[in-house]
C-alpha cells in the first residue's frame, strides 16, 4: 500500500500534500491510497481529508503532536508505518519534510528519494525523476533497500486538482485513529511561539538622506563621527565596500555594485574616493556632497558640493552647526 503523509497548517491541509497524492495516484493504477494526518484535535481535518475520497484516512491524534517537532513526528510516522506496513511513503518536499524525513528514513534504514518531480513504473518497479546540478539535469533513480521507500515530492511539480476520488460511490473515505503510545517519550525539542523574523535589512533605497563612509574614516571607532553627522541630518549611515568588508558596518549598509543602489535626496560621501563600483550605486542621488582629503579623488567628478579637507575637522564642525540650527 501507499501512504501519503498530509501536512496541515492553520486548520487546512496544504495544497502541496494534495499534489503529493496526485503524484502517487498517477502511478497507482487505481489503487487506493491511504492518508496519514498527525496533530492534536484532528477530527475536523480528518473529515476534510476523507471527503475527497482518496482512500482511508489514518489519524494520529495526540497532544504531543500539537506543534510540529521532528522528534514527535519521527516517532508518530514510524509507529504508523510499523502498524500499516506501506511499501511507499510519500509527502510534499516541504521544510517540515526536509527537517524530519531524513531522520525517519535513517531510523528505519529505509531508502529516501527527495525532491522528486516525476514518477513512472517500469516492469512494476517505480522510477523517480529528480533534479541534479541545480536543475540542469534530471536523474532517474530507483530505490534499493528495505521497505518502505520514502519519497518527498517537489512542490509545484504535480497538480493538486488532478487528485481523483477512488471511493465507489463518490462518498467519504473511512477515518481510522491510530493509537500511538507517547508515554515515556521525551521530546528533545521545546517549541516557542511562532514569530516573524524582524526585517533586519536596512532599506537604504528608501532613505531620503544618506551619510556614507569610506576608507578615509581609517578605523572602526571613528565611524561614530559619521554617525553623529547622520543623526544630525536624520540620515541613514551607509558605507563603501572596504568598510563593510572589514566588518565595521553590516553588509546591508554597503552601497555600490556589490551592495545597494540608492538615490536619496542628499548623499554625503565621507572619505570615499569614488571607485566606479561605488559610483554606480549612488550617482542617481539628487544632491551629492563629497568630503575628501584628496582633491583628485573621482568622487568630486560626480559631487555637487565638494569639500577638500580632513573629515575629522569638517564632520564635527558640520555636526555641531546642524545641531545648533536644529534640523
Amino acid at each position: 500500500m501507499t501512504l501519503v503523509v498530509m501536512e496541515h497548517q492553520a486548520g487546512a491541509i496544504s495544497r502541496a500534500s494534495w499534489e503529493a497524492v496526485a503524484a502517487v495516484q498517477s502511478v497507482g493504477a487505481g489503487e487506493a491510497i491511504s492518508l496519514l494526518l498527525l496533530g492534536s484535535g484532528m477530527d475536523e481535518l480528518a473529515a476534510m481529508a476523507a471527503v475527497r475520497g482518496v482512500g482511508p484516512v489514518y489519524v494520529v491524534d495526540d497532544p504531543a503532536l500539537h506543534t510540529y517537532t521532528p522528534d514527535a513526528y519521527v516517532m508518530a510516522v514510524r509507529a504508523a508505518v510499523t502498524a500499516l506496513g506501506p511499501t511507499l511513503v510519500a509527502m510534499a518536499h516541504s521544510y517540515q519534510a526536509r527537517d524530519y524525513l531524513p531522520a525517519l528514513a535513517a531510523r528505519l534504514g529505509a531508502p529516501l528519494v527527495s525532491d522528486v518531480v516525476g514518477l513512472r513504473l517500469e516492469g512494476g518497479e517505480l522510477r523517480f525523476r529528480r533534479p541534479m546540478f541545480q536543475g540542469k539535469l534530471a536523474a532517474e533513480v530507483r530505490a534499493v533497500g528495505e521497505s518502505p521507500t520514502f519519497v518527498s515530492l517537489q512542490i509545484g511539480a504535480f497538480r493538486a486538482d488532478a487528485v481523483a476520488s477512488r471511493t465507489t460511490d463518490g462518498g467519504s473515505a473511512p477515518v481510522e485513529r491510530l493509537a500511538v503510545d507517547f508515554t515515556g517519550f521525551t521530546n528533545r525539542q521545546t517549541v516557542e511561539g511562532p514569530f516573524r523574523e524582524a526585517r533586519q535589512a536596512v532599506d537604504l533605497s528608501q532613505a531620503e538622506r544618506i551619510v556614507a563612509v569610506g576608507r578615509g574614516i581609517k578605523a572602526q571607532e571613528h565611524i561614530a563621527v559619521a554617525q553623529r553627522l547622520a543623526d544630525a541630518l536624520g540620515a541613514e549611515l551607509a558605507a563603501s565596500r572596504p568598510i563593510c568588508d572589514s566588518g565595521w558596518l553590516a553588509m546591508d549598509r554597503q552601497v555600490g555594485s556589490s551592495g545597494q543602489t540608492v538615490a536619496p535626496k542628499l548623499y554625503v560621501a565621507v572619505g570615499i574616493s569614488g571607485a566606479i563600483q561605488h559610483l554606480v550605486g549612488m550617482k542617481g542621488s539628487r544632491t551629492i556632497v563629497a568630503i575628501n582629503k584628496d582633491p583628485d579623488a573621482p568622487i568630486f567628478e560626480v559631487a555637487d558640493y565638494g569639500v577638500v579637507g580632513d573629515l575629522f575637522e569638517i564632520l564635527p564642525a558640520l555636526t555641531s552647526e546642524l545641531n545648533k540650527r536644529g534640523r
Partner: protein
C-alpha cells in the same frame, strides 16, 4: 552537522573546462559516437555561469583545427569577426614608432581570422549542447577523484558556504562526477591540472612551465583609426629588453579595436607592474593616436602558457588526459594557442573514445593521445620553436636572434636550453634596485585619467566581474612571510602583478602592514598563483558562476 551524501553522476567521458579545448573535445566525442552509432554519455563542467564568460584572447585564430572539427563552420554561422587583411610589426621606443620592413614569418597571419574568443566559445557551446552533450555551466571542478592510483572523475565545488566555510541554509555539497575517462581542459594553470601534476609527477624530466600575463581592453573608437582586419604587433616600449612580451592591436568591425599587452611572468624587477605597463603602452603616441576620443568597452586579463614543447608535461595517465592551455599547448612564437587547444582537445577525444570502446582507460591505452600529438601538426608546429621562450630569458636581442635562428634551422641544434620557473627569476629589491631604495608600500598612485588610462579598480568594473560576497575566500594565501619577508624583500609584488586589485597592503594604526584580499575582484587570470615569489598563493575556484563576464572579448 554531518555531511549529506553526495550526488553521483556517472558518464563515459567527463571534460573539465568549457573552453576551446574542452568544447572541441566534447564535440569530437559526440561526432565519434554518432559515427559509430553508439550512445556515449559526455559531460562538460564549466565554472562560468554562461559558456565563454571567462574566455579571453586577442584573438587571431588559425582556423585549421576549427575547419577539421566543423568543416562548414562559416555556413553554420561561426562568429568570425573578419579575415586578417594585413600585418604590421612595430618596435616602440618611449616616443618613437619604428615599423619593421618585413613581418617576421611567424607573425604573418594570411589565412587567419579575427575572432572574439568569448563569442566563438559561446557558439561552440551551442553546437556541443545540440550534439547532446551535457554542459554544466556554473560548476567548477574542486578536486580530482583518484582511486587506486587512477583518476575516476572530479568533485565539483560546494555551494552555499559562508565566509568561514560553514554551510548556510540552501547548502549543497559538490557532486561527484565519475567517468571512465576524464579530460582536463581547465586552462592555463588549471587548478585540477595543478593537482594532477603534483600527484602523478607529470612534469618530471620536463623544463619548468613558463607563463606570461596578458591584459586586454576592447575599445570603440572614432571611424578610420585601424582598418578592419589589420593586425599590429609591437615590441619594445613599455617593456625593457629584459622583459619578455609585447603589445597587440587588432582592427575589428564597427570601429572596435582589441588591444593588449603581454608581459612575461619571469621578470626580474620586483617593482615591475604589468597593469602600469599597459597604461604606459596606451599613453605611447602610436597607441594614443588610435584610441583618443574612443571609449573603453571591456577589460580583462589572463595568464598564457608560454613555455612551449619542452615544458609540456606528460598528458596521459590512468583514467585521464590533459589538453589545451592546461598542458601548455601554445605557440609563443606565433602568439597562438586556440587552434592547438582545439586540436589537442580533439586528439584527446579520439584517445578517450578508443579507451571507452576498449573498456581500457589505462595510461598505456591512453598514450595513443601522446602518439597522435607526436605524429601530427602539434609537434610539427611546436617542436622547432621549443627553445624560443627560454632564449628570451636572456633578453630581447638574444631572444630575437635565437628565434630567427630557430626559424632558419627548423630548431635543430645541439642542446636544448634550460629555463627557470618564472617566479624564481624575480630579484629582491636590494639586489635589483640596490640598497638605496626603501621598501615601498603601495605602488604610486596610478596615472589614470579615466579617459585613456584607468586604475585597476575601474578596469575591474569593466571586466564585469562579480562573485557572491558571502563565500569562503578562493585565494588561499599563506601569509607567514607576507609582512616579515615578502614586504621587505620584494615590496609585496602581489599588489602589482595582480591586474584586478585583489591584493592590497594596508598599514594599521599601530604601523604594522596587513594584507587585504579582495577576492571578489578576481578575474581568474591565475597570475598570483604563478608569480608569487614564495609560491604562497593558491587559486581555487570560487563558488560556481562567479568571475568575469567577458562579453565580446
Amino acid at each position: 552537522m554531518t555531511t549529506p551524501t553526495r550526488e553521483t553522476l556517472e558518464v563515459d567521458v567527463l571534460v573539465v573546462g568549457g573552453g576551446p579545448a574542452g568544447l572541441a573535445c566534447a564535440l569530437r566525442l559526440s561526432q565519434q559516437a554518432a559515427q559509430a552509432g553508439i550512445s556515449l554519455a559526455v559531460a562538460v563542467l564549466e565554472k562560468s555561469r554562461e559558456a565563454g564568460a571567462h574566455s579571453l584572447s586577442g584573438a587571431v585564430l588559425d582556423p585549421s583545427s576549427l575547419r577539421d572539427l566543423i568543416p562548414d563552420f562559416e555556413a553554420q554561422g561561426a562568429p568570425i569577426a573578419a579575415p586578417v587583411e594585413s600585418d604590421r610589426v612595430y618596435f616602440l621606443t618611449e616616443r618613437r614608432t619604428i615599423r619593421f620592413p618585413l613581418v617576421p614569418p611567424p607573425l604573418v597571419n594570411h589565412g587567419h581570422v579575427l575572432v572574439s574568443l568569448n563569442q566563438l566559445v559561446r557558439w561552440l557551446a551551442d553546437r556541443v549542447e545540440k550534439a547532446g552533450v551535457d554542459l554544466f555551466t556554473g560548476f567548477a571542478g574542486q578536486e580530482v577523484l583518484v582511486e587506486d592510483g587512477r583518476v575516476v572523475g572530479v568533485r565539483t565545488g560546494d555551494r552555499g558556504l559562508d565566509r568561514v566555510g560553514a554551510p548556510k541554509p540552501g547548502f549543497e555539497p559538490g557532486v561527484d562526477v565519475r567517468a571512465a575517462v576524464t579530460v582536463f581542459c581547465d586552462g592555463v594553470r588549471g587548478n585540477l591540472t595543478k593537482q594532477l601534476l603534483a600527484r602523478f609527477s607529470l612534469a618530471e624530466g620536463r623544463e619548468p612551465e613558463q607563463f606570461a600575463v596578458g591584459l586586454k581592453e576592447l575599445w570603440e573608437v572614432p571611424a578610420g583609426r585601424l582598418p578592419v582586419g589589420r593586425v599590429v604587433h609591437t615590441l619594445g616600449y613599455p617593456l625593457r629588453h629584459e622583459e619578455f612580451g609585447g603589445g597587440f592591436l587588432y582592427g575589428f568591425p564597427e570601429n572596435h579595436i582589441s588591444l593588449g599587452l603581454v608581459a612575461g611572468l619571469d621578470y626580474q624587477d620586483p617593482l615591475f607592474d604589468p597593469h602600469d605597463a599597459f597604461n604606459r603602452f596606451k599613453r605611447h603616441p602610436f597607441v594614443t593616436g588610435l584610441l583618443d576620443g574612443g571609449r573603453l568597452v571591456r577589460y580583462g586579463a589572463k595568464a598564457l602558457p608560454e613555455g612551449g614543447w619542452n615544458t609540456i608535461p606528460r598528458v596521459h595517465m590512468d583514467g585521464a588526459l590533459i589538453a589545451g592551455d592546461a598542458a601548455g599547448f601554445l605557440n609563443s612564437m606565433r602568439l597562438k594557442g586556440i587552434h592547438l587547444a582545439m586540436r589537442t582537445g580533439m586528439l584527446a577525444a579520439d584517445a578517450a573514445f578508443d579507451a571507452v570502446q576498449a573498456r581500457d582507460a589505462s595510461a598505456e591505452r591512453l598514450s595513443s593521445y601522446q602518439r597522435a600529438i607526436d605524429a601530427g601538426p602539434v609537434r610539427r608546429e611546436l617542436h622547432p620553436v621549443r627553445n624560443v621562450h627560454q632564449a628570451f630569458g636572456a633578453g630581447l636581442i638574444p631572444g630575437a636572434a635565437f628565434a630567427a635562428l630557430a626559424l632558419l634551422t627548423g630548431g635543430r641544434w645541439v642542446r636544448d636550453l634550460a629555463g627557470h620557473a618564472g617566479h624564481s627569476r624575480m630579484r629582491t629589491l636590494a639586489s635589483y634596485h640596490g640598497a638605496h631604495l626603501a621598501a615601498p608600500g603601495h605602488p604610486r598612485r596610478p596615472e589614470a585619467d579615466r579617459q585613456l588610462t584607468f586604475d585597476r579598480l575601474t578596469n575591474v568594473h569593466y571586466s564585469g566581474t562579480a562573485h557572491r560576497e558571502d563565500q569562503p575566500g578562493h585565494l588561499l594565501v599563506d601569509t607567514t612571510f607576507c609582512t616579515t619577508r615578502c614586504g621587505p624583500e620584494y615590496g609585496h609584488p602581489c599588489i602589482r602583478f595582480c591586474p584586478a586589485q585583489v591584493y592590497e597592503v594596508h598599514t594599521e594604526a599601530d604601523g604594522t602592514a596587513r594584507l587585504q584580499i579582495n577576492a571578489a575582484n578576481c578575474v581568474h587570470c591565475k597570475t598570483c598563483d604563478i608569480m608569487d615569489p614564495y609560491q604562497a598563493i593558491t587559486w581555487v575556484p570560487p563558488e560556481g558562476g562567479g568571475g568575469p563576464q567577458y562579453n565580446g572579448m
